[in-house]
Symmetry: C2
Subunit: 401 residues, 2 copies
């Protein structure tokens, strides 16, 4: 079997943990498997490097930032290869150049285009464990790129796809994917199996266990993922196309506290106005999420939408600049809101999920401000202060046994 195993920064934060990871990888190696290990930078290395760059140049060229950050994973993989070798197993570390992991050119947010597999297969065939830098690639100029935060998950999935691996295991500091955040919902339980689409909704909505781009890639190339803990032997969560656990109405409850709601009021009720508003925002690279449109007074429209909190300021500035042209009377911004979502492949064939969710919120007196749905997700916008109560109520409703 060919296994890709990915370990995050906290799993390799110090020599002791590096040795722990080495032991786990050697277990699989000794069972006769071919083992490819993907690592992030040790502990808080990436943050430390970024702050060093900040001291020297607050507007450092992004190409140079990626050149700097790439040293983090290279350090991890070299040390891991040493740790594995110390335990008598032949190992070799490879960076983005050595593998030839080709990406697009966008520094800090690159995407994989093509991964060469020859060197990896050669090393595996000569009996070595292969330890590869996550998070980084090279573009067509041979410059180093990085994939953005959480990019090592994506590296692991991309490698698993390129190598046609039999398994892709993502090790984190939690035991898997939960029905809700266990720190808030004490009754939250670990999900045994979840579909790509469900995981994608949960990842996008801030479950933070898996990087959402990695889930999309896994879906595209049908790479079955296992999310499990690097600290214990629990089974973890399997992410795959179709789960064996059919009929689960809802598989998880997720919260996103980084939302902001922007309302534009009194817009002229004529065709094309909504298009012009969202086109203007798109031109400024502002990602709009939930959108709600209603008829206002005097034959005008009110349009509300949510954006990531970090983009709220830019969104408002962009609208103000074009306020007249876009026929906007008033622009309002609300920061203290959160998105609460239930996700489940089962809801496609089951009516009443929305009603059940709204009932749960009604029972605890939580006001719903906006509603948006996809085939497998229902999201409501609520006040930030209501989040914990709402999450527990909704979770109890769907998972009460």
């Amino acid at each position: 079997m060919l296994i890709v195993k990915k370990f995050g920064g906290s799993s390799v934060a110090d020599p002791e943990r590096i040795n722990n990871v080495a032991d786990r990888c050697i277990e699989d190696y000794k069972k006769g498997h071919k083992v490819v290990v993907v690592l992030s930078a040790m502990g808080k290395t990436t943050d430390a490097l970024l702050s060093k760059a900040q001291t020297i140049n607050p507007n450092a060229p992004k190409r140079e930032v990626d050149m700097l950050l790439a040293t983090g994973e290279q350090t991890s993989v070299a040390l891991m290869a040493m740790a594995v070798a110390a335990k008598g197993v032949p190992a070799i570390s490879l960076n983005a150049f050595q593998v030839a992991m080709h990406t697009t050119s966008v520094y800090g947010d690159a995407r994989f285009k093509r991964i060469d597999t020859e060197r990896i297969y050669n090393e595996l065939d000569s009996g070595r464990m292969v330890i590869i830098t996550g998070f980084q690639g090279i573009n067509r100029r041979d410059d180093l790129t990085t994939l953005g935060r959480g990019g090592s998950d994506t590296t692991a999935v991309a490698l698993a796809a390129a190598l046609r691996a039999d398994a892709c295991e993502i090790y984190t500091d939690v035991e898997g994917v939960y029905t809700a955040d266990p720190r808030i919902v004490s009754k939250a339980r670990k999900i045994k199996e979840i579909t790509y689409d469900e995981m994608l909704e949960l990842a996008t909505l801030g479950a933070k266990v898996l990087h959402n781009r990695s889930v999309g890639l896994a879906k595209k190339y049908r790479v079955q993922l296992v999310v499990r803990s690097s600290l214990n032997r629990e089974e973890g969560t399997i992410v795959k196309e179709v789960t064996d656990v059919e009929g689960m109405l809802v598989n998880g409850v997720a919260v996103d506290k980084n939302a902001a709601r922007i309302a534009v009021l009194g817009v002229k009720n004529e065709p094309g106005i909504a298009f012009r508003i969202f086109d203007e925002l798109a031109k400024h690279n502002i990602n709009v999420d939930v959108i709600l449109q209603s008829i206002g007074r005097d034959d005008t429209k009110d349009i509300s939408f949510t954006v990531d909190q970090t983009q709220a300021k830019d969104a408002v500035a962009c609208l103000r600049e074009n306020q007249e042209r876009l026929t906007i009377k008033t622009i309002k911004e609300e920061k203290n809101v959160a998105k609460l979502s239930v996700v489940g492949a089962g809801m496609q064939s089951n009516a009443g999920v929305a009603a059940k969710m709204f009932e749960a919120l009604y029972d605890v007196g939580v006001n719903i401000r906006m509603i948006a749905t996809s085939e497998i997700r229902i999201t409501v916008l609520i006040d930030l202060e209501d989040v914990d109560v709402a999450m527990r109520a909704v979770h109890d409703k769907f998972f009460h046994d």
Copy 2:
């Protein structure tokens, strides 16, 4: 003009010094020169990485050690490119992969084979300052190699040769090459010009200002070097083929305190014995320096030689193992010895240099234990405790005005 400027680890140890180096490089850039900067790892980074490796695996594979160490220079060049960019000058950092600096495969002690210049010229032509990792290369497997301690000097010279640079400046924390170590000989003075051969003898003998391999490479490709301080504007020392200062009998006095003397006594006086002894040592990669052979008692020979102190133990062990076969009666090792040398291209055409040196030592009562000479060098082995007195006496004799 195309200028290669090399700065060592202490010159880029912190953001302030990085900015200082950036300023000096920008001065040349603003004069219209094309500027290529070669950097070592910041401050004590290399030592810190080695000690990390040591914790994880005291016998770490050398390939992985080089993979680890290479991150040091990559960090320096990325930060320097940021510093230069912050001052409004376009800059780009390049590592061993990006330049394509091909070396032999010997990890930790690789030699340059070929340096591609295309990318560097392209970047220079588009108006950028180019900042390149010293000390590292890639071998034919695309694995990272390092050149051994002081290797960044060699990188600078190799780049200057490949690029046909007009100048190659080596910046250090001293002002140039001195007639003797200024910490010991207060009257030591800075040498204005020195030949490659003289510098090579001084570098090999422990002057420590320039890495000896870099001097050899400079001689081979006729790269004129300037050694100067990164902390002030003093002129430094020029290293070139023929100096304008002819007739200097002696150009410098150097000391090597890392010598050990090994004596093998009572060896059979038959042809081939000396060969067999040194062949055996060579097979164990032990570099033998000064050799002295004399007739012992009973038709036997005594052979003495010096080795680097770090190799003394291995040398003795190797001889003991073969003691019978090599017909050795006794093996003696002396550690408290030092080599004192005078170096000067002028001594080729001037008799009496040796006599002058011996007279100086006689005057201060220093006993000479062995003597060795080359065309431009006279070396004596003396007791370690005599070194400072001997150095001052010899220096005064040749440079007394």
